[in-house]
Amino acid sequence: MLASDDDLLKQAEDWRRAGRDVAIATVVETWGSAPRPVGSHLIIDAEGNFMGSVSGGCVEGAVVTEAIDVIESGAPKLLEFGVANETAWQVGLSCGGRISVYVEKVA
């Protein structure tokens, strides 16, 4: 059962202790209508397996791709998604909101 975002942090720890490389993505800011609240997590491993959500499905694919980069480089990234940002991203939030997602590796 992974009902809460805190459970995901436990899952991230378990993955890491099992020897997997792991990144944690966290919604840090939202503007307008956003599907998942600030503090929501997505956890990702180096193979692209993921749990949780930062947008309810709209931008997870892109976050997973970025997270794999973060796992390789070790440097955290701040991602922004939204309708006004379509040049930077092929994906956006259909609801018209904007979200900022912090992605960090579990070292």
């Binding site: 009902a3 436990k10 991230a12 720890e13 600030v38 503090g39 960090e104 579990v106």
Partner: protein, 231 residues
């Protein structure tokens, strides 16, 4: 995030202690502030505000833009009464991410066969509750209809900082309950904390529908401000 920091955060959560992870978004620098250390922290006011609201978020500080990951303990529902409604309540509460415990001294009701997947205490409330670590993240649900069982639990609940207290029973049942509580020395203000009849009014009839209305009311109490607007 360092694995050690992540482990500590998870450890605090397992022990039902609040903590705030402070992340400098620009540099990636992080530190964990435990509930007990908040008052002495340079960001004490911001941290305690964030914890009271139970909301993670960005704050602007002299140190720059920081993200606060607020981790409040998970809500624990203590249900008094191993009754039919409780059987529906357990899986629904667990699905919502709540922790749930059942207390009922009647062993015929509080049997593992009836409640296979939940912490079950076949004890009187005044015996079981002191060991359950009642705190402000605790919700009480009184479901036996039996004053001998519900009332001692109500006394403990009303003296605690629990955020939700609900008691099953008609308006008439509740009126007599209020009389007993007044006789026991509880004030009108204390008694006003009790949600009775229990649950949001959705016209529920079946045990699962009543459980749904109770969980909806607990969720509303958790998520809405006292004026009913979104927190």
């Amino acid at each position: 995030m360092d694995l050690s920091l992540l482990s500590k955060l998870n450890e605090e959560r397992a022990a039902r202690r609040a903590a705030v992870l402070v992340t400098d978004i620009a540099s990636g620098k992080q530190r964990l502030v435990l509930e007990a250390d908040i008052a002495a922290d340079p960001l004490a006011v911001m941290l305690s505000d964030a914890l009271r609201m139970g909301k993670s978020g960005v704050v602007e500080t002299p140190e720059g833009k920081l993200f606060l990951t607020v981790q409040a303990p998970i809500v624990r529902i203590i249900a008094i009464g191993a009754v039919h409604i409780s059987q529906a309540l357990v899986p629904m509460a667990q699905q919502l991410g709540f922790d749930i415990v059942i207390v009922d001294p009647r062993t015929a009701f509080a049997s593992p066969e009836r409640f296979p997947k939940v912490e079950l205490h076949a004890e009187w409330p005044d015996v079981a509750l002191p060991n359950l670590g009642v705190d402000r993240y605790t919700a009480f649900v009184m479901l036996t209809h039996d004053p001998k069982i519900d009332d001692p639990a109500l006394h403990i609940a009303l003296k605690s900082s629990s955020f939700y207290i609900g008691a099953l029973g008609s308006r008439k049942t509740h009126a007599t309950r209020v009389e007993r509580l007044k006789e026991a020395g509880f004030s009108d203000e204390d008694i006003a904390r009790i949600h009775a009849p229990i649950g949001l009014n959705i016209g529920g009839i079946s045990p699962a529908e009543v459980a749904l209305s109770i969980l909806a009311q607990i969720t509303a109490k958790l998520r809405l401000k006292p004026d009913g607007t979104r927190a």
